[in-house]
């Protein structure tokens, strides 16, 4: 018996008949050949979010991103005209990495007037033009116009900076489509108190999206995070979402979330009672405009028990909105077929008091406890998938986003392979 209404087709999955209901083949998460094609078919052709504009507060602000999935390092910089641009992080003279600190493979950030290569001091403007060549007369009719930094398509949506290596890709807003752009107007710019996490995970990138795109696991894997009576009740009830929506390649899950604040304070841990905070964030909504009413794309079923929405922005970004008034992002950056770097950013409104600050601290600490449990499970999954003892797995109706993710990835790779074969 469903607690929440399902579509007329009888299930969320059957509402999207192209998904099918048969078991799903997970070879796409262990096959090195599939991974290589995925990099070309997906990561080198798709808009990828690489950060937020708050990291570039003024002209000359920059940061670098190491992106093994697309085989490059990027510089993202705000020009004197206020425009955010992205460049490959390579000097046009002899190919040195242009911007880095002590360790070339580590990301860096800062503010500067121009980029100067450590090797021979070629200098580039914030807009990417080469404006100084050491001993220029020693070169042979060097036309500096031809030696600006190699730029990468870069667009900003609601403060999120996206890049795309594909010159032929549609514009970002078109790519995001109505499902994602339905959240426009959320006051993202108010959430400048940021906690950033990074983890190297021994699994395929899609497996961590799988772990976070279904909450079917929550009453089981995270059982000990609730007090015993509550945990028993949750495990007995299981999990059902309020709403799912697909708009390929993107998707979203809308969920209830009853513990912020809890009906009964005995349901939560002592520290949560005092700090009025926990996994679902500080219980008291910050006093800013834009949270009530929320943009139409958030809590689409307008359910009063709503707790959190999670948007899966293909390929590798999750954007989550919590009912009490904060948001977070996850990114999953593949580094090998069985490895990826997981990044999480928690965004809060700056605290005004020590009480606010400790509430946010508890939310951040709690996030990490959960993420550790999720991350370790994945390594166990990856090693057993790799045995190929079993390759097809039944996914239930609450795992529809996983079914969708793997289908989209496989379709994109197939399209890429078919096109390559036809050439």
């Amino acid at each position: 018996m469903s607690h929440f209404t399902k579509p007329a087709a009888g299930s969320w999955t059957e509402h999207y008949p192209e998904l099918g209901t048969e078991p799903v083949d997970y070879t796409d998460s262990i096959d090195p050949g599939f991974y290589e094609d995925e990099r070309n078919a997906i990561f080198k052709k798709t808009w990828l979010n690489i950060g937020r504009v708050e990291r570039l507060p003024r002209a000359g602000s920059y940061f670098t991103r190491e992106l093994p999935a697309i085989g490059t390092s990027l510089i993202i910089a705000k020009g004197t005209d206020g425009v955010v641009r992205a460049f490959h992080n390579i000097c046009r003279h002899r190919g040195n990495k242009l911007v880095w600190d002590d360790f070339p493979n580590e990301e860096t950030s800062g503010t500067c007037r121009q980029f100067t290569c450590k090797y021979h001091a070629w200098r580039y403007s914030l807009e990417g033009e080469v404006n100084f060549v050491q001993q220029e007369k020693e070169f042979f009719d060097l036309d500096k116009q031809l030696y600006g930094l190699k730029s990468v398509r870069c667009e900003v949506w609601e403060g999120f900076i996206f890049v795309n290596l594909d010159e032929d890709a549609p514009p970002l807003a078109e790519y995001l489509g109505p499902l994602v752009t339905g959240v426009e107007g959320y006051p993202f710019h108010e959430f400048t108190e940021v906690y950033s996490y990074r983890a190297e995970i021994g699994s395929n990138w899609k497996l961590f999206i799988d772990a976070f795109a279904e909450f079917y696991h929550a009453p089981i894997l995270h059982m000990k995070q609730a007090v015993k009576d509550e945990a028993d009740k949750l495990a007995g009830v299981g999990y059902e979402a309020l709403h799912y929506q697909l708009q390929s390649p993107h998707s979203m899950i809308s969920s209830w979330g009853g513990m912020a604040p809890p009906k009964d304070l005995n349901m939560v841990k002592p520290i949560e009672r005092v700090l009025r905070s926990g996994l679902f964030g500080p219980w008291d909504r910050p006093d800013i405009a834009g949270l009530d009413p929320l943009p139409a794309g958030i809590n689409p079923s307008r359910h009063r028990a709503w707790g959190v929405d999670e948007f899966e922005i293909f390929p590798n970004m999750s954007l989550l909105f919590w009912a009490p008034g904060w948001y977070l992002t996850y990114h999953y950056w593949p580094t090998a077929v069985d490895k990826h770097v997981f990044e999480a950013n928690l965004y809060f409104v700056p605290p005004k008091t020590a009480r606010d600050r400790l509430g946010q601290e508890l939310a951040a600490v709690t996030f990490k406890e959960y993420a550790l449990q999720d991350a370790n499970t994945l390594e166990a999954t990856q090693t057993m998938l790799a045995t190929r003892i079993v390759s097809e797995f039944p996914l239930n109706d609450q795992e529809i986003l996983l079914r969708h993710l793997h289908k989209v990835a496989k379709d994109k790779v197939k399209e890429y392979r078919d096109a390559a074969a036809a050439r």
Partner: protein, 108 residues
């Protein structure tokens, strides 16, 4: 020289938990035995409301040094609340080799 405000002299013996960043607090948690954390928790948790009230007499962006130390101590309390209230061990159970690092944080 005490780190904490005089009203919190009873917590002074836990001054090694006055740590400004999460990586420091988490590392100390992993390096601590449960009885140590239990003692810290049992003593500091009942003072949490008082500590908040003390710190909230000042603007968060301009805390006197002793109030800042007190807040850092309470941030450590938040970090050890999981081992004490839930796990009964320093590490998250079943987290094996997994590591999640806080790489950017708003340090008070």
């Amino acid at each position: 020289m005490p780190l904490l405000p005089a009203e919190f002299a009873d917590l002074e013996r836990f001054a090694d938990w006055v740590l400004p960043t999460e990586p420091q607090r988490y590392a100390k948690r992993l390096a601590s035995a449960m009885p140590q954390m239990q003692e810290f928790y049992d003593t500091a948790f009942p003072r949490l409301e008082d500590a908040i009230a003390y710190c909230d007499k000042f603007p968060l962006t301009d805390l006197p040094e002793d109030a800042r130390a007190l807040l850092h101590l309470m941030q450590s309390l938040v970090n050890v609340s999981f081992p004490v209230e839930v796990w009964k061990q320093a590490r998250v159970p079943d987290s094996g080799a997994a590591m999640v690092h806080l790489i950017r944080e708003p340090v008070v």
